[in-house]
Amino acid sequence: MNKILTKLYRIIIVVFILILGVTFERTGLIELLSDPYEYPVIIELCIQHLYMVSLSMTFATIIGITAGILLTKQRFRKYAGVCMYIIGLGQTIPSLAVLALAMSFLGIGMKPAVFALTIYSILPIARNTLAGITAVPPELIDAGKGMGMSPMRILMEVELPNAMEVILTGFRIALIINIGTAALAYVIGAGGLGDLIFTGISLMQTDKLLAGAIPVTLLALFADFLTELLGCALVSKGLRLSR
């Protein structure tokens, strides 16, 4: 609970500063936002942005968690090191490059953008799933097995709940990077809030720039906060208490 309040506090401070900066600038942002021609565009770009993020995160989460779980099972354990290294390599590659590479092979628009975002978001989730499940104390698994729980039961009732906190951290990291990278997707023709930012920069129109930059920032901070809430819902109280 405390952590949530702190996060909220942080967000409020940043929002405050942002608003302060804006009003200080008198950059005409307010006019821009209230312009009936501009306003719907901004909303639409927001929606595009959210669309890219949610779609890619959904894919990345499913693939990432599944991969993470599979790599912990006996059969695939030897591939774990290699797999993690390869995926890790993928994350070392700068986000812009990933988008550019996706564009080279898949053309422009939302499709390559979502594809690139998915690939880019898989690593933190997969790596943390692997680490989280591996970190579950082996005696819990032994107790579960000894009591007659099937492997699937053990996964659902013991391994995943106990690994959830770590997995969520991976999810959070992936989500925040995702939102930031989605802002870049504009350059490969995918729209999103990056449109406003890039246009603002090249045309030296500060109001447009801020109209893009501030929502993206708010989005990222809000996503951080949301993940924290998710944690409260998904992570068992017993585990939170033992921190």
């Binding site: 590659i93 986000s95 550019a100 925040i176």
Partner: protein, 222 residues
């Protein structure tokens, strides 16, 4: 491959852009490291600031890089430095703070207090302790933080092209604008290679910096 051809044809330009890219990242790290490490050391001594500082750095890193550029633009424009390498370096310095501060903090905190106690009991001065015990033990973790920061910075620097900072991102930007696939690929591949090389190099540095004793300890516990 035609991309390879492209790189060879424009070799001097490639080299220049590489150099530009490395320069930006290098300067940023040069500035960010002392600040980050110093802050990290300070908050180990003054716990109450620890969470605030770490939170602050966390927020900085949460802000998407492009947005950070965008936010700095109007402010720096006042000094006529809104575009170009300056905002790029400043943003990179901000971004590097979290990994460096956090790793420094964790590294020093993780030095077993029992060892510090033993050292003090033997009569080592505070300064000596820092120099002969805490820093050698903490260094590998700090370098790991630098590694994270370096790789991240290479990525952000690529984006910085769009605010006029130059670097390998130029190939990507220009390539898209001129619909020149070989250029795009060249840019993407080159910057990726740079990132992988730096990552590997820093991993090596990390290993070298790990005191022999710890390396053996890690090997045995495997």
């Amino acid at each position: 491959m035609s991309t390879l051809q492209f790189i060879m044809d424009n070799f001097s330009q490639v080299m220049y852009l590489c150099w530009e890219h490395i320069w930006i990242v290098g300067i940023a790290l040069l500035i960010a490291t002392p600040i980050g490490v110093a802050l990290g050391i300070v908050i180990t001594k003054h716990e109450k600031f620890a969470s605030k500082v770490l939170n602050g750095a966390n927020i900085l890193m949460t802000i998407p890089s492009l947005a950070l550029f965008g936010l700095m633009l109007p402010i720096l424009s006042i000094f006529n430095m809104g575009l170009g390498k300056v905002p790029a370096v400043i943003a990179l310095v901000f971004y590097s703070q979290l990994p460096i501060i956090r790793n420094t903090y964790t590294a020093i905190k993780n030095v077993p207090p029992a060892l510090v106690d033993a050292g003090r009991g033997l009569g080592m001065s505070r300064w000596r302790l820092l120099r002969e015990l805490e820093i050698p033990l903490a260094t590998p973790v700090i370098i790991a933080g630098l590694r994270t920061a370096a790789v991240m910075n290479i990525g952000v620097a690529a984006i910085a092209t769009y605010i006029g900072a130059g670097g390998l991102g130029v190939y990507i930007q220009q390539g898209i604008a001129r619909v020149y696939p070989e250029m795009i690929l060249a840019g993407a591949i080159l910057v990726s290679l740079l990132a992988i090389l730096v990552d590997g190099g820093m991993a090596l540095l990390e290993r070298i910096a790990t005191p022999e004793g710890i390396r053996v300890q890690r090997k045995l516990s495997r």
